[in-house]
Amino acid sequence: MSTSTLWLIVLAAGLGTFALRLSFIQIADRIALPRPFIRALRFVPAAVLSAIILPAVLRLPDGTMSYALDNPRLLAAIGATLIAWATRNALVTILGGMALFWLLGWLL
Protein backbone atom coordinates (compact mmCIF):
# COMPACT_ATOMS: atom_id res chain seq x y z
CA MET A 1 0.00 0.00 0.00
CA SER A 2 1.22 3.52 -0.75
CA THR A 3 2.14 5.91 2.06
CA SER A 4 -0.77 8.21 1.20
CA THR A 5 -3.23 5.29 1.39
CA LEU A 6 -1.85 4.34 4.81
CA TRP A 7 -2.20 7.95 6.03
CA LEU A 8 -5.79 8.04 4.74
CA ILE A 9 -6.61 4.82 6.61
CA VAL A 10 -5.09 6.12 9.86
CA LEU A 11 -6.74 9.55 9.59
CA ALA A 12 -10.15 8.06 8.77
CA ALA A 13 -9.82 5.55 11.61
CA GLY A 14 -8.70 8.31 14.00
CA LEU A 15 -11.48 10.69 13.03
CA GLY A 16 -14.10 7.94 13.26
CA THR A 17 -12.79 6.79 16.63
CA PHE A 18 -12.88 10.37 17.92
CA ALA A 19 -16.49 10.68 16.71
CA LEU A 20 -17.39 7.48 18.61
CA ARG A 21 -15.74 8.82 21.76
CA LEU A 22 -17.38 12.23 21.50
CA SER A 23 -20.81 10.96 20.38
CA PHE A 24 -22.78 10.69 23.58
CA ILE A 25 -20.63 13.08 25.61
CA GLN A 26 -21.72 15.68 23.08
CA ILE A 27 -25.42 14.82 22.62
CA ALA A 28 -26.65 12.95 25.72
CA ASP A 29 -27.69 16.21 27.40
CA ARG A 30 -30.42 16.53 24.79
CA ILE A 31 -31.30 12.99 23.69
CA ALA A 32 -32.50 10.02 25.77
CA LEU A 33 -30.66 6.82 24.85
CA PRO A 34 -32.80 3.83 23.73
CA ARG A 35 -32.24 1.04 26.23
CA PRO A 36 -32.03 -1.87 23.73
CA PHE A 37 -29.22 0.00 21.96
CA ILE A 38 -27.20 0.42 25.15
CA ARG A 39 -27.82 -3.22 26.08
CA ALA A 40 -26.53 -4.45 22.70
CA LEU A 41 -23.41 -2.24 22.89
CA ARG A 42 -22.43 -3.99 26.11
CA PHE A 43 -21.52 -7.12 24.13
CA VAL A 44 -19.41 -5.44 21.48
CA PRO A 45 -15.96 -5.75 23.14
CA ALA A 46 -16.34 -9.45 24.02
CA ALA A 47 -17.81 -10.34 20.62
CA VAL A 48 -15.36 -8.40 18.46
CA LEU A 49 -12.21 -9.26 20.41
CA SER A 50 -13.15 -12.94 20.53
CA ALA A 51 -13.76 -12.93 16.77
CA ILE A 52 -10.21 -11.64 16.29
CA ILE A 53 -8.53 -13.85 18.89
CA LEU A 54 -9.74 -17.32 17.89
CA PRO A 55 -8.80 -17.29 14.18
CA ALA A 56 -5.48 -15.59 15.05
CA VAL A 57 -4.69 -18.35 17.54
CA LEU A 58 -5.64 -21.20 15.20
CA ARG A 59 -4.01 -19.73 12.07
CA LEU A 60 -0.43 -20.94 11.66
CA PRO A 61 2.27 -18.59 10.34
CA ASP A 62 1.90 -20.24 6.88
CA GLY A 63 -1.78 -19.19 6.73
CA THR A 64 -3.43 -22.61 7.24
CA MET A 65 -5.74 -23.31 10.19
CA SER A 66 -4.70 -25.88 12.83
CA TYR A 67 -7.26 -27.48 15.13
CA ALA A 68 -4.74 -29.90 16.68
CA LEU A 69 -4.63 -29.89 20.46
CA ASP A 70 -0.82 -30.04 20.43
CA ASN A 71 -0.74 -26.67 18.68
CA PRO A 72 1.40 -24.57 21.09
CA ARG A 73 -0.53 -21.44 20.07
CA LEU A 74 -3.86 -22.93 21.16
CA LEU A 75 -2.49 -24.28 24.45
CA ALA A 76 -0.70 -21.00 25.24
CA ALA A 77 -3.87 -19.03 24.45
CA ILE A 78 -5.92 -21.25 26.79
CA GLY A 79 -3.25 -20.77 29.46
CA ALA A 80 -3.25 -16.99 28.93
CA THR A 81 -7.05 -16.95 29.23
CA LEU A 82 -6.84 -18.74 32.59
CA ILE A 83 -4.09 -16.35 33.74
CA ALA A 84 -6.17 -13.36 32.65
CA TRP A 85 -9.23 -14.77 34.40
CA ALA A 86 -7.33 -15.30 37.65
CA THR A 87 -5.20 -12.13 37.70
CA ARG A 88 -7.13 -9.58 35.56
CA ASN A 89 -3.68 -8.15 34.88
CA ALA A 90 -2.57 -7.45 31.31
CA LEU A 91 1.17 -7.47 32.06
CA VAL A 92 1.04 -10.85 33.85
CA THR A 93 -1.23 -12.26 31.12
CA ILE A 94 1.04 -11.18 28.27
CA LEU A 95 4.25 -12.32 29.98
CA GLY A 96 2.65 -15.62 31.08
CA GLY A 97 1.10 -16.31 27.68
CA MET A 98 4.33 -15.65 25.81
CA ALA A 99 6.37 -17.72 28.30
CA LEU A 100 3.92 -20.62 27.82
CA PHE A 101 4.09 -20.23 24.05
CA TRP A 102 7.88 -20.39 23.99
CA LEU A 103 8.04 -23.22 26.51
CA LEU A 104 5.43 -25.34 24.64
CA GLY A 105 7.05 -24.63 21.29
CA TRP A 106 10.31 -25.94 22.73
CA LEU A 107 8.69 -29.00 24.38
CA LEU A 108 6.24 -30.13 21.67
Binding site: M1, T3, T5, L6, L8, I9, V10, A12, A13, G14, G16, T17, F18, L20, R21, L22, F24, I25, Q26, I27, A28, D29, I38, R39, L41, R42, F43, V44, P45, A46, A47, V48, L49, S50, A51, I52, I53, L54, P55, V57, L58, R59, M65, R73, A76, A77, T81, A84, W85, R88, A90, L91, T93, I94, L95, G97, M98, F101, W102, G105
Partner: protein, 242 residues
Protein backbone atom coordinates in the same frame (compact mmCIF):
# COMPACT_ATOMS: atom_id res chain seq x y z
CA UNK B 1 -5.30 32.06 45.36
CA UNK B 2 -2.22 30.02 46.15
CA UNK B 3 -4.39 27.67 48.20
CA UNK B 4 -6.85 27.12 45.36
CA UNK B 5 -4.06 26.33 42.89
CA UNK B 6 -2.74 23.83 45.40
CA UNK B 7 -6.14 22.15 45.65
CA UNK B 8 -6.47 21.92 41.88
CA UNK B 9 -3.06 20.28 41.69
CA UNK B 10 -4.26 17.75 44.28
CA UNK B 11 -7.11 16.70 41.93
CA UNK B 12 -4.61 16.08 39.13
CA UNK B 13 -2.34 14.14 41.49
CA UNK B 14 -5.23 11.99 42.62
CA UNK B 15 -5.90 11.03 39.01
CA UNK B 16 -2.22 10.28 38.38
CA UNK B 17 -2.08 8.14 41.52
CA UNK B 18 -5.18 6.21 40.42
CA UNK B 19 -3.77 5.31 36.99
CA UNK B 20 -0.21 4.54 38.20
CA UNK B 21 -0.76 0.82 38.97
CA UNK B 22 -2.20 0.30 35.47
CA UNK B 23 0.78 1.80 33.64
CA UNK B 24 3.04 -1.31 33.64
CA UNK B 25 0.21 -3.25 31.96
CA UNK B 26 -0.33 -0.50 29.37
CA UNK B 27 3.37 -0.44 28.42
CA UNK B 28 3.65 -3.83 26.64
CA UNK B 29 0.37 -3.20 24.85
CA UNK B 30 1.55 0.17 23.58
CA UNK B 31 4.83 -1.41 22.52
CA UNK B 32 2.90 -4.08 20.67
CA UNK B 33 1.02 -1.39 18.74
CA UNK B 34 4.33 0.22 17.78
CA UNK B 35 5.85 -3.14 16.92
CA UNK B 36 2.88 -4.16 14.77
CA UNK B 37 3.23 -0.91 12.81
CA UNK B 38 6.95 -1.51 12.28
CA UNK B 39 6.24 -5.03 11.05
CA UNK B 40 4.02 -3.78 8.21
CA UNK B 41 6.64 -1.17 7.24
CA UNK B 42 4.94 2.01 8.45
CA UNK B 43 7.53 4.81 8.48
CA UNK B 44 8.41 6.25 11.91
CA UNK B 45 6.10 9.30 11.67
CA UNK B 46 3.04 7.24 10.77
CA UNK B 47 3.98 4.21 12.88
CA UNK B 48 4.26 6.29 16.06
CA UNK B 49 1.84 9.03 14.96
CA UNK B 50 -1.02 6.54 14.54
CA UNK B 51 -0.86 5.96 18.30
CA UNK B 52 -1.69 9.66 18.79
CA UNK B 53 -4.22 9.85 15.95
CA UNK B 54 -6.21 6.69 16.82
CA UNK B 55 -5.06 6.21 20.45
CA UNK B 56 -6.75 2.80 20.85
CA UNK B 57 -4.36 -0.15 21.01
CA UNK B 58 -6.56 -3.12 20.15
CA UNK B 59 -7.94 -1.45 17.05
CA UNK B 60 -4.50 -0.21 15.95
CA UNK B 61 -3.05 -3.73 16.15
CA UNK B 62 -6.03 -5.17 14.25
CA UNK B 63 -5.70 -2.43 11.63
CA UNK B 64 -2.00 -3.01 11.04
CA UNK B 65 -2.63 -6.77 10.95
CA UNK B 66 -5.26 -6.28 8.22
CA UNK B 67 -2.96 -3.95 6.29
CA UNK B 68 -0.27 -6.65 6.49
CA UNK B 69 -2.79 -9.13 5.07
CA UNK B 70 -3.48 -6.71 2.18
CA UNK B 71 -7.12 -6.22 3.19
CA UNK B 72 -9.15 -3.46 1.53
CA UNK B 73 -8.44 -0.04 3.16
CA UNK B 74 -12.15 0.44 3.88
CA UNK B 75 -12.19 -2.88 5.77
CA UNK B 76 -9.22 -1.73 7.87
CA UNK B 77 -11.06 1.48 8.79
CA UNK B 78 -14.37 -0.33 9.47
CA UNK B 79 -12.61 -2.90 11.66
CA UNK B 80 -11.08 -0.10 13.75
CA UNK B 81 -14.50 1.50 14.17
CA UNK B 82 -16.20 -1.80 15.03
CA UNK B 83 -13.59 -2.60 17.69
CA UNK B 84 -13.88 0.96 19.03
CA UNK B 85 -17.69 0.91 19.21
CA UNK B 86 -17.21 0.32 22.93
CA UNK B 87 -16.07 3.94 23.22
CA UNK B 88 -19.59 5.03 22.29
CA UNK B 89 -20.82 3.02 25.27
CA UNK B 90 -18.22 4.63 27.55
CA UNK B 91 -19.17 7.98 26.07
CA UNK B 92 -22.84 7.40 26.94
CA UNK B 93 -22.05 6.41 30.51
CA UNK B 94 -19.51 9.18 31.14
CA UNK B 95 -21.69 11.85 29.51
CA UNK B 96 -23.94 11.87 32.59
CA UNK B 97 -20.96 13.11 34.64
CA UNK B 98 -19.48 15.55 32.14
CA UNK B 99 -22.68 17.53 31.52
CA UNK B 100 -22.06 21.26 31.32
CA UNK B 101 -18.45 21.19 30.14
CA UNK B 102 -17.53 23.51 27.28
CA UNK B 103 -17.37 22.01 23.78
CA UNK B 104 -13.56 22.25 23.82
CA UNK B 105 -13.28 20.43 27.16
CA UNK B 106 -15.75 17.78 25.99
CA UNK B 107 -13.63 17.23 22.88
CA UNK B 108 -10.45 16.88 24.97
CA UNK B 109 -12.17 14.42 27.32
CA UNK B 110 -13.46 12.45 24.33
CA UNK B 111 -10.08 12.32 22.58
CA UNK B 112 -8.46 10.95 25.76
CA UNK B 113 -11.18 8.34 26.44
CA UNK B 114 -9.69 4.89 27.09
CA UNK B 115 -10.78 1.70 28.85
CA UNK B 116 -8.62 2.57 31.83
CA UNK B 117 -9.47 6.28 32.19
CA UNK B 118 -13.16 5.49 31.76
CA UNK B 119 -13.20 2.74 34.37
CA UNK B 120 -11.22 4.76 36.93
CA UNK B 121 -13.20 7.95 36.42
CA UNK B 122 -16.60 6.27 36.57
CA UNK B 123 -15.70 4.38 39.76
CA UNK B 124 -14.48 7.60 41.39
CA UNK B 125 -17.42 9.73 40.26
CA UNK B 126 -19.87 7.12 41.53
CA UNK B 127 -18.07 7.19 44.90
CA UNK B 128 -18.10 11.02 45.05
CA UNK B 129 -21.30 12.23 43.36
CA UNK B 130 -20.87 15.57 45.16
CA UNK B 131 -17.63 16.47 43.34
CA UNK B 132 -18.03 19.68 41.31
CA UNK B 133 -17.69 19.38 37.54
CA UNK B 134 -14.25 21.03 37.43
CA UNK B 135 -12.88 18.67 40.05
CA UNK B 136 -14.18 15.64 38.11
CA UNK B 137 -12.62 17.00 34.94
CA UNK B 138 -9.21 17.53 36.58
CA UNK B 139 -9.22 14.03 38.07
CA UNK B 140 -10.15 12.57 34.70
CA UNK B 141 -7.39 14.50 32.93
CA UNK B 142 -4.88 13.34 35.56
CA UNK B 143 -5.60 9.71 34.68
CA UNK B 144 -6.11 10.15 30.94
CA UNK B 145 -3.13 12.41 30.12
CA UNK B 146 -0.76 10.24 32.18
CA UNK B 147 -1.87 7.20 30.20
CA UNK B 148 -1.49 9.13 26.93
CA UNK B 149 2.13 10.04 27.73
CA UNK B 150 3.02 6.45 28.67
CA UNK B 151 1.17 5.15 25.61
CA UNK B 152 3.10 7.39 23.22
CA UNK B 153 6.45 6.58 24.85
CA UNK B 154 5.74 2.84 24.68
CA UNK B 155 4.58 3.07 21.06
CA UNK B 156 7.89 4.72 20.10
CA UNK B 157 9.82 2.13 22.11
CA UNK B 158 7.93 -0.75 20.47
CA UNK B 159 8.37 0.74 17.02
CA UNK B 160 12.16 1.00 17.33
CA UNK B 161 12.84 -2.10 19.46
CA UNK B 162 10.33 -4.21 17.50
CA UNK B 163 11.96 -3.47 14.18
CA UNK B 164 15.16 -5.16 15.36
CA UNK B 165 13.67 -8.34 16.84
CA UNK B 166 14.08 -11.67 14.97
CA UNK B 167 10.83 -13.27 13.64
CA UNK B 168 11.78 -16.70 15.03
CA UNK B 169 10.93 -15.40 18.52
CA UNK B 170 7.25 -15.62 17.54
CA UNK B 171 6.51 -12.15 18.93
CA UNK B 172 3.56 -11.84 16.53
CA UNK B 173 1.78 -14.26 18.84
CA UNK B 174 1.81 -11.48 21.44
CA UNK B 175 -1.01 -9.86 19.48
CA UNK B 176 -3.76 -12.43 20.21
CA UNK B 177 -2.33 -12.79 23.74
CA UNK B 178 -2.70 -9.02 24.26
CA UNK B 179 -6.29 -9.24 22.97
CA UNK B 180 -6.98 -11.97 25.53
CA UNK B 181 -5.62 -9.70 28.25
CA UNK B 182 -7.98 -7.00 27.03
CA UNK B 183 -11.08 -9.19 26.59
CA UNK B 184 -11.13 -11.55 29.57
CA UNK B 185 -11.61 -8.95 32.34
CA UNK B 186 -14.73 -7.79 30.46
CA UNK B 187 -16.35 -11.24 30.69
CA UNK B 188 -18.37 -10.35 33.77
CA UNK B 189 -21.37 -12.68 33.43
CA UNK B 190 -22.70 -15.66 31.45
CA UNK B 191 -24.15 -13.39 28.76
CA UNK B 192 -20.78 -11.82 27.85
CA UNK B 193 -19.14 -15.27 27.95
CA UNK B 194 -21.86 -16.59 25.60
CA UNK B 195 -21.30 -13.63 23.28
CA UNK B 196 -17.54 -14.31 23.20
CA UNK B 197 -17.94 -18.08 22.64
CA UNK B 198 -20.45 -17.78 19.78
CA UNK B 199 -18.53 -14.93 18.15
CA UNK B 200 -15.20 -16.77 18.39
CA UNK B 201 -16.68 -20.00 17.00
CA UNK B 202 -18.40 -18.17 14.15
CA UNK B 203 -15.19 -16.30 13.33
CA UNK B 204 -13.32 -19.61 12.95
CA UNK B 205 -16.09 -21.04 10.75
CA UNK B 206 -16.24 -17.85 8.67
CA UNK B 207 -12.45 -17.38 8.52
CA UNK B 208 -12.21 -18.45 4.82
CA UNK B 209 -14.45 -15.51 3.78
CA UNK B 210 -12.50 -12.68 2.11
CA UNK B 211 -11.53 -9.31 3.62
CA UNK B 212 -12.25 -10.31 7.20
CA UNK B 213 -15.97 -10.16 6.52
CA UNK B 214 -16.21 -13.16 8.87
CA UNK B 215 -15.17 -10.87 11.72
CA UNK B 216 -18.23 -8.64 11.20
CA UNK B 217 -20.66 -11.54 10.83
CA UNK B 218 -19.21 -13.33 13.84
CA UNK B 219 -19.28 -10.18 16.00
CA UNK B 220 -22.92 -9.52 15.06
CA UNK B 221 -23.82 -13.14 15.92
CA UNK B 222 -22.00 -12.78 19.25
CA UNK B 223 -23.73 -9.51 20.11
CA UNK B 224 -27.14 -10.98 19.23
CA UNK B 225 -26.36 -14.06 21.34
CA UNK B 226 -25.36 -11.96 24.35
CA UNK B 227 -28.47 -9.82 23.99
CA UNK B 228 -30.84 -12.79 23.75
CA UNK B 229 -28.97 -14.72 26.48
CA UNK B 230 -29.32 -11.76 28.82
CA UNK B 231 -33.02 -11.37 28.03
CA UNK B 232 -33.82 -15.06 28.52
CA UNK B 233 -31.33 -16.30 31.11
CA UNK B 234 -30.61 -13.25 33.26
CA UNK B 235 -32.73 -10.53 34.82
CA UNK B 236 -32.47 -7.43 32.59
CA UNK B 237 -29.13 -5.82 33.33
CA UNK B 238 -29.64 -2.51 35.13
CA UNK B 239 -27.15 0.20 34.21
CA UNK B 240 -25.19 0.71 37.43
CA UNK B 241 -24.04 4.19 36.52
CA UNK B 242 -27.35 5.93 35.99
Amino acid sequence: MRNRKNEEWQDWLEGIRAIAPLLPAALPFGMMAGLAAAKVDFDALLGIGQSAIIFAGASQIAMTQLIGEKALPVMAVLTVLLINLRFAMYSASLSLHLRGLSAAKKSLAAYLLTDQAYALALARFTLHPDWPLDKKFRFYLGTAITLWVVWMASAALGYYLGAGLPPSWGLEFGVPIAFIALMVPGLRDSATVAAACVSGGMAVIAAPLPNNIGLFLAALCGIATGYVWESVMLAPHEEDNA
